[in-house]
């Protein structure tokens, strides 16, 4: 085991941002065998008071709502028809109960929304946490657009359902309470009153089955029309040149006709179902008026009860309207949840071994020991590759395109795990080290570096977010980036990608080098990192780096002679293994294959003007 438990524990994962909100309290149940709702339950119930509180309040509010028509009923019967009591008592009671109901409705609605938005943000942050833990191999095969749609519309559809679920349950409770009350008064009249209401549910479901797919189709067609117009704006020269105006109008007319069709289909479905759905509760009121009126005539029912029933019919249609919508949302939420779980169930491939130790104060002695690796199992990129690099040595790795040069640079920071063999730093197998300490010790710069849309200073300080401006400037100077940064309107605070300022390839590479220099790793991998940089600037960069990196190990994956020339030693890679090693001159003299490789790579030497485009 490595001797890494020193007294001083360095910070491998620096954090320079203050958390303004609590992290998620619970995780999604990892058991893929469980149902989708059960898996998300820990997140839903993470704040029990926020969850059960509003539900309890809602229950009271719903009962009060059911009580209101009953108060009017008593007022009509006792104060107006029988005239045995004063109306004032009932008015006061009505106002008190009604106000309380309205107030409690506000409380529970806001409470439910708040809980739902907590669930929403918990799911978002959990997904983000999981995404940052996944290995390179996951990102090699996944489109980010797909993940974003899951993180957005799918989370929203789950959240909507989870908000709506308790509300639906409460509405159902109201139905049960009101219906029980009606049954307690007059069973046949209660049954007659609600008889048309299930139709609201069935027809509503049929309407949605038509309209939901139609709305997606219509949206797509609106987009088609917009695309044609957009193309005609951007491609106006071509349209005019070929006198294509009329053809384009025909094309648009076609799209507009298709759009008209799907919009009319929607109108048709609405015309077919909506008027009936709207009138079914009125049919219930009609039944109450006819049958209930007849009962009043025969003194089996009071006029107040007749009124209360008329009100209940309107009130009770709500659950039937909501139910169908709720069921549909349930289907969508299930599909969405499964798409989210698909990501959450993806486990990271490269992980810390239990008991992995921290690598501290690395010297940079690197050994590749019979390394075999392929991105897929059927194609080996490296096949028995061995190489020892002494601490502080600068080694260039040279080979044809596809020889596995860049792969070596990806295996050392353990972006991928080996199929066979081992890589050791300071005598420790990298699999026995924590990932953060290993990656703290190994820095790399790729030929097409990714910059974030934050300021240039923040980009340079990406690996050390707390670095001072002086440190950032020093790193930028060493990477020969200082001058062009100063020339930008915003200097170091210029945000990359904003207002049309796009850096040239060479400038991006220099920022990436500054970023790696500021992180100050023990081992630095430069993967064609200066390919777009002018030879003279490259020389100055190397000069600046040599000062900062004195004693550091550097692996240079190189194309250009100018780059190779800076290495202490050159390794020639072919067929996934090192076939020759020596100084540039030695290989030139003794190794014909080396000269061949150099001939093929010299062609694509490019220069970089280095200015803002």
């Amino acid at each position: 085991m490595p001797d890494a438990t020193t007294e001083f524990e360095p910070v491998f994962e620096p954090v320079a941002v203050e958390a303004r909100f609590d992290p998620p309290l619970a995780d999604v149940d990892p058991d893929p065998e469980k149902g989708w709702l059960r898996r998300v339950l820990p997140v839903v119930l993470a704040r029990p008071v926020s969850f059960f509180g509003p539900i309890t309040v809602a229950l009271i509010a719903r009962v009060l709502q059911v009580a209101l028509p009953a108060v009017i009923r008593a007022a009509i019967d006792n104060a107006l028809v029988a005239k045995t009591e004063s109306i004032d008592r009932y008015v006061v009671m009505f106002v008190v109960l009604g106000s309380l109901s309205a107030f409690l409705t506000f409380i529970y609605r806001f409470g439910m929304y708040r809980n739902a938005f907590h669930i929403d943000s918990d799911l978002r942050t959990l997904l983000y946490r999981h995404l940052t833990s996944l290995s390179f191999s996951f990102y090699d095969k996944t489109q980010s657009g797909q993940i974003i749609s899951r993180a957005n519309s799918d989370i929203r559809s789950v959240q909507l359902f989870l908000t709506f679920g308790p509300l639906m349950a409460m509405t159902m409770t109201m139905f049960v309470v009101a219906f029980t009350f009606m049954m307690s008064i007059h069973i046949p009249l209660a049954l007659v009153a609600v008889a048309p209401l299930p139709g609201v549910f069935f027809l509503g479901t049929r309407l949605r089955n038509e309209i939901f797919p139609l709305s997606w189709i219509t949206q797509g067609r609106v987009a088609d029309v917009a695309t044609i117009v957009d193309e005609n704006i951007n491609g106006v020269r071509v349209v005019r040149s070929f006198a294509g105006e009329k053809d384009q109008i025909v094309k648009l007319a076609k799209a507009a006709t298709a759009l008209r069709w799907s919009a009319l289909r929607t109108v048709k479905a609405q015309a077919q179902y909506n008027p009936v759905i709207e009138n079914l509760p009125r049919l219930g009121q009609l039944f109450v008026l006819g049958y209930g009126g007849w009962l009043v005539i025969n003194d089996d029912l009071t006029p107040g009860t007749l009124f209360a029933f008329l009100t209940y019919v309107t009130m009770l249609q709500a659950p039937f309207r909501m139910l169908g919508f709720f069921l549909m949302m349930g289907q969508r939420a299930k599909a969405s949840a499964e798409r989210i779980y698909e990501i959450l169930d993806e486990s990271p491939v490269v992980v810390d071994r239990p008991g992995a130790a921290n690598l501290a104060n690395a010297t940079g002695h690197v050994v590749f020991d019979d390394v075999t690796f392929g991105y897929s199992s059927d194609a080996k990129i490296l096949d028995g590759f061995s190489l020892e690099v002494a601490a502080g040595e600068v080694v260039a790795i040279v080979g044809r395109t596809g020889s596995g040069k860049s792969t070596i640079g990806r295996l050392l920071p353990r972006f991928y795990d080996l199929d066979n063999g081992a890589i050791r730093i300071d005598g420790n197998d990298i699999r026995d080290l924590t990932l953060v300490s290993l990656r703290h010790a190994v820095g790399s710069v790729a030929d097409d570096p990714f910059l974030f849309s934050v300021s240039l200073a923040d980009n340079i300080a990406y690996g050390r977010p707390g670095a001072s401006r002086e440190e950032v400037v020093a790193a930028a100077k060493a990477a020969q980036a200082h001058d062009f940064i100063e020339a930008l309107p915003g200097g170091y605070d210029e945000v990359v990608g904003e207002r049309g300022y796009t850096l040239s390839g060479g400038q991006r590479q220099r920022i990436a080098i500054a970023r790696a220099l500021l992180a100050d790793p023990a081992v630095l991998i430069l993967d064609d990192a200066t390919s777009a940089i002018d030879v003279h600037v490259e020389e100055r960069i190397h000069h600046g780096m040599t000062e900062r990196l004195a004693g550091r190990t550097v692996l240079v994956i190189a194309h250009r002679l100018s780059t190779i020339a800076l290495a202490d030693r050159v390794v020639l890679l072919d067929g996934g293994r090192a076939i020759a090693t020596g100084t540039h001159q030695e290989l030139m003299d003794n190794e014909p294959r080396y000269r061949e490789v150099l001939d093929t790579v010299e062609d694509d030497t490019r220069d970089d003007a280095g200015g803002v485009q």
Partner: protein
């Protein structure tokens, strides 16, 4: 790992919805769980055929576009719709009144026969409302959709009449919104807005009249309690929720931007141990989004119960005041019933009218913007007496042409030259000298301020734009490819071309290998703005398009300037094929291109300073000769700039 729904969908070819589905945007393609039903609906879609379209450059409706003009021709249909709405609303609002009659005249006096009559009338009212509503929705829906379709075509047609200057001006970025959000705003206004506005106002009026008829005093009290309170409350809600939802939209955009950047840069994040930092950062962004949501939902949570409270107060007032009246005998029980029932019907119209006012405003502003667009006269108008340009020999003549994009700032001064049929001339000169403008005047993208451009001796202003441009072939500097297949793009020049013609055109310009390599051949999609083809291949496709139009006159605007050496060689080879036997003007960026021309025109500062064969100009020892010299010097040290 399989990641969710397949992006390809059976929704009518390479549509924007299909392409954006791949990028995972909201409303991108139909979700998998709805796909079956969507397919069933689409199976019922008839073939709409090719719509008949009238298009004239010079003849179009010139009266100003106003709501009145727009609706004017449909006056009769709109009148019918109004009649339908009146019947529908009256039938709907009959319910509580019939209840009142039933209670007061039949139930309390115990008249079973009358009760049955009232019930029968009530039933008839329900049936009438159902049928009328159905007819009305269908009728106004069809009317609105027809008008929107015609308006889309009309606006787009007028856009097609506009010259290039219209598209390069400051406002070109907003042109798309004329056809999208502005027309959508009008659609919303016609589909729901106007009809609903009428329905709700009518409802309010009908209820008010009935209440006044039943009991004027109680009616006034009810209106005073409910109308102002609901109106103010709804207006408050409207303004607050707009603020709230704007904030939510901003915050979700932040969340998605942070997520998408993190995904794109995940390798850098891992390599630099930025996980912990970025997680906290994302927590913060998501937290801000949650706060915005909470604000918006609080507004919603206040509004619903508050209107409930207004309802409670209204009902309580009715009970207290109306109840006393019943006890005094000045109000019947049935009338109190009616008041209580109508009170509930009062809320929806008030709530909706506030929303509709907004939609009406948006519709009006859309009308205003569309009016401006439709009132813009084309900068290159076709003469009403324009004749059809007969088949060209290919003689081009510039006769003392002076032109500037801004009239007082000429780009070309007094240019005169003649290109004989079948001749190729190259136009060279420093950047900004006006080279490209020469080509734009031949295609009549712009009209010269002075002088004339003639083809075969005919002033191009006197011929129809279509007959002119259909005999010209243009290859622009930046090839623009349309969404669709390779064949669609080549066929752009000649609609009737067969697959064999398209294939031949591709092969002739050197795209044969590419087409053979692609699995779908000429039916391969080129994707948006041709992103999957290399810039050389895109330029070749533009050449194939020009070749397909079999023009007598060909104009090439720096067609090879943005290419690497290898692609340039391919293009040069293709040019030999395309240029054969045609009159051509090549706007040249590189002298190598200029050398293949029969004659060379040198333009500097908007003036034609030299014109002659390559040898003549070298001998002349002027501008071209010195350009040539420095070019030769540059190529000898390996730099061709």
């Amino acid at each position: 790992m399989s990641m969710g729904p397949p992006a390809g969908s059976p929704f009518g070819g390479p549509s924007a919805s299909a392409t954006s589905a791949a990028s995972g945007l909201p409303f991108a393609g139909v979700p998998a769980e709805l796909a079956d039903r969507a397919k069933k609906i689409l199976d019922e879609e008839p073939d709409h055929g090719t719509p008949a379209v009238e298009f004239s450059q010079s003849e179009y409706a010139r009266e100003p576009f106003t709501l009145r003009h727009f609706l004017g021709p449909k006056r009769a249909q709109i009148g019918l719709a109004v009649a339908l709405v009146v019947v529908e609303t009256l039938a709907l609002q009959a319910g509580p009144l019939l209840t009142q009659i039933g209670v007061d005249r039949a139930i309390l006096p115990k008249n079973t026969g009358l009760l049955m009559t009232v019930v029968a009338i009530y039933f008839a009212a329900i049936i009438v409302n159902t049928v009328m509503a159905r007819v009305r929705i269908l009728f106004t829906g069809r009317l609105g959709e027809d008008m929107m379709r015609d308006l889309r075509i009309r606006v787009f047609s007028h856009m097609q009449r506009q010259g290039l200057d219209y598209y390069t001006g400051e406002k070109s970025g907003r042109l798309l919104t004329r056809m999208t959000s502005d027309i959508d705003a009008l659609t919303a206004l016609f589909q729901d807005g106007l009809v609903n506005l009428f329905v709700q106002m009518l409802t309010l009026a009908v209820i008010t009249v009935v209440l006044l008829f039943l009991n004027p005093m109680l009616a006034v009290i009810t209106l005073l309690i409910v109308l102002p309170a609901m109106g103010l409350l709804t207006m408050w809600f409207k303004s607050r929720s707009e603020v709230g939802y704007a904030r939510v939209r901003d915050r979700i955009a932040d969340v998605l931007a942070d997520l998408s950047e993190s995904l794109a840069g995940m390798r850098v994040i891992s390599a630099h141990n930025r996980r912990a930092h970025n997680i906290i950062n994302h927590d913060n962004v998501v937290g801000d989004y949650r706060e915005a949501n909470l604000y918006a939902s609080k507004v919603g949570a206040v509004y619903g119960p508050s209107s409930e409270f207004v309802g409670v107060i209204g009902q309580a007032a009715l009970l207290a005041i109306g109840g006393r009246m019943v006890v005094n005998g000045t109000l019947s029980v049935g009338e109190l019933f009616a008041f209580l029932l109508y009170l509930t019907n009062f809320f929806a119209p008030i709530q909706q009218l506030v929303q509709l006012y907004n939609s009406y405003q948006q519709g009006q502003s859309a009308v205003h913007k569309l009016r401006q667009l439709l009132a813009t006269s084309p900068s290159v108008p076709e003469s009403p007496h324009a004749s059809v340009l007969r088949d060209l020999e290919g003689r081009i003549e510039f006769d003392r042409v002076t032109f500037g994009y801004k009239p007082d700032d000429p780009v070309l001064h007094d240019i005169s030259f003649v290109v004989e049929p079948g001749e190729t001339i190259a136009v060279v000169g420093p950047t900004g000298a006006g080279k490209s403008t020469v080509a734009k005047l031949v295609t009549r993208f712009y009209d010269p301020q002075y002088g004339a451009v003639r083809l075969d001796g005919v002033n191009i202003k006197d011929v129809t734009i279509e007959s002119l441009r259909s005999q010209l072939g243009v290859v622009p500097q930046e090839p623009f490819l349309f969404n669709g297949t390779i064949a669609d793009n080549v066929r752009f020049a000649r609609d009737s071309a067969s697959d064999a013609d398209v294939l031949e055109a591709c092969q002739r310009v050197g795209l044969g290998d590419l087409v053979a390599r692609l699995p779908d051949g000429i039916d391969s999609l080129v994707h948006e703005r041709g992103s999957s083809l290399s810039s050389g291949e895109r330029q070749l496709l533009a050449l194939a398009r020009a070749f397909m139009s079999r023009p007598r006159v060909l104009l090439l605007d720096e067609a090879t300037s943005n290419l690497d050496l290898q692609s340039e060689t391919m293009i040069e080879r293709a040019l030999d094929v395309v240029l054969e036997g045609r009159t051509a003007i090549i706007i040249a960026h590189r002298l190598a291109t200029a050398q293949r021309a029969d004659r060379i025109a040198v333009i500097d500062e908007g003036r034609l300073i030299e014109f002659g064969t390559h040898e003549e100009l070298l001998e002349l020892g002027g501008y071209f000769a010195s350009m040539h010299e420095s070019w030769q010097l540059a190529t000898s040290i390996g730099d061709d700039a």
